[in-house]
């Protein structure tokens, strides 16, 4: 039977841990609020951009711009898989899920893959296992800015247009609500027509042709790279909000579990104490009757 002192020490240790998880939960909650606000604010831009591009893509030939041209999937083709993980752990299955989804894609695509990694956790996982890594951006979630997304977008575009890769996929956690995140695997490049045609521009406006100022070519040259950047930016913000949501939930569960542990330990400790007292009484009584 463990001694009373040991048990008391255990309880104290668990209490300390509980305090830490509680504090982390609180921090995650406040960061989540900000991250959530940012993603909510960024969504309209991404949505409108998709809509405008949808209206545009319906009218033009994809051959007009290299970012629209898709290349066949063969054993020799190459894909750049960008996996967005968190920089930190202690967030439940957040990183595991996205890493698993990325790994599955690598295994199932049947073509050569290189990895683009965002976030320290992904770098640690894939780096340790010797996967081919094309680029690695970690530590950007501390202070997430549009420029970070622009950098990643440019790297992706460069790899695609230079012919180094034939496709760019984006794997990230989407923020659905505070308690649910979903892993999304999206094609970033080439820009799929089915994807941009899904916009609401629809039949009413599809017949009329736009005036372009300057030329359509010029607008595409600016709009498409920007679109890619915005998609990456959105993925980063989604992932960031999802990270804090996951961390908050994980820390909440941890706090609850440690509470349970404390109460069961305290109960056990009291039983031990009582047993010790009873034993002592018996000793005293039997000692007295022996006299």
């Amino acid at each position: 039977m463990p001694s009373l002192i040991d048990l008391r020490r255990r309880v104290r240790a668990v209490k300390n841990t509980q305090q830490i998880t509680k504090a982390m939960k609180m921090v995650a909650a406040s960061k989540l609020r900000r991250a959530q606000e940012r993603i909510m604010n960024a969504r309209p831009y991404a949505v409108q951009m998709q809509r405008v591009l949808g209206g545009l893509a319906a009218r033009v030939d994809p051959a007009i711009h290299p970012l629209l041209v898709s290349r066949p999937r063969t054993a020799d083709s190459k894909t750049l898989v960008i996996v967005v993980t968190g920089d930190k752990g202690l967030c439940g299955s957040f990183n595991t899920n996205v890493i698993k989804a990325g790994g599955n894609y690598l295994a199932e695509s049947g073509e050569k893959c290189v990895l683009g990694l965002v976030g320290k956790k992904g770098r640690d996982f894939f780096g340790r296992r010797g996967f081919p890594i094309h680029f690695d951006q970690s530590g950007i979630f501390q202070k997430l800015q549009y420029e970070d997304a622009a950098t990643i977008g440019k790297l992706a575009i460069e790899a695609f247009t230079s012919g180094e890769v034939d496709r760019v996929m984006l794997v990230f956690n989407e923020f659905r609500s505070v308690i649910s995140q979903r892993v999304v695997v999206d094609q970033l490049l080439p820009i799929g027509r089915e994807e941009v045609e899904g916009g609401t521009a629809g039949a009413a406006t599809a017949q009329i042709d736009y005036l372009y100022e300057p030329s359509a070519q010029e607008i595409f040259n600016q709009l498409l790279p920007r679109y890619v950047e915005v998609q990456v930016y959105r993925a980063l913000l989604e992932s960031n909000a999802a990270f804090f949501a996951a961390q908050m939930t994980a820390m909440d569960t941890a706090t609850k579990n440690s509470g349970e542990m404390i109460s069961s330990l305290t109960l056990y400790m009291n039983k031990v104490r009582q047993a010790a007292i009873t034993r002592e009484i018996i000793e005293v009584v039997s000692g007295a009757s022996a006299l």
Partner: protein, 145 residues
């Protein structure tokens, strides 16, 4: 806010979004947009147009009230009944930090005047443009009270 018809002039649905947030989502009577190749005004029923934005002052009018915004770099989609502005930067005059814009202007000026060896003169030019437009819009807000 003016209704769709209700006896008043026809309106446009104006939507201005920047990468960070959505700024305007309203029915307006007239918009002036700083296109990359010059300013252009849009009234309801405008022919469909897709334009890139320069840096400049955008205004829109609802009834008699005109509102100014600073916008820079992005795209404008014009349809007969709605206008969508996707701007990289969009700010309301009251949000503009005049001191910062002034400082940025000075910095950009210095950079442009110095013989550029390792300096990115294109970036300096853009910075200059942005700060100028911010100052202009901010000044507009001040003169109106």
């Amino acid at each position: 806010m003016a209704g769709e018809t209700a006896g008043s002039a026809p309106t446009l649905h104006l939507r201005i979004v920047s990468a960070e947030r959505s700024l305007v989502d309203a029915q307006v009577h007239e918009v002036q947009i700083p296109g990359a190749e010059g300013y252009f005004g849009v009234l309801p029923g405008h022919t469909p147009l897709l334009a890139t934005l320069g840096a400049g002052e955008l205004w829109y009018r609802v009834g008699q009230v005109t509102t100014y915004l600073a916008v820079a770099l992005g795209f404008a989609e014009v349809l007969p009944d709605r206008v969508t502005i996707l701007a990289q930067i969009a700010e309301r005059p009251e949000e503009i930090d005049t001191a910062r814009a002034e400082a940025a202007k000075k910095r950009a000026e210095e950079r442009m005047n110095k013989p550029a060896i390792d300096m990115d003169s294109e970036r300096a030019r853009i910075a200059m443009m942005k700060s100028l437009i911010r100052l202009q819009v901010a000044a507009r807000a001040r003169t109106r009270g």
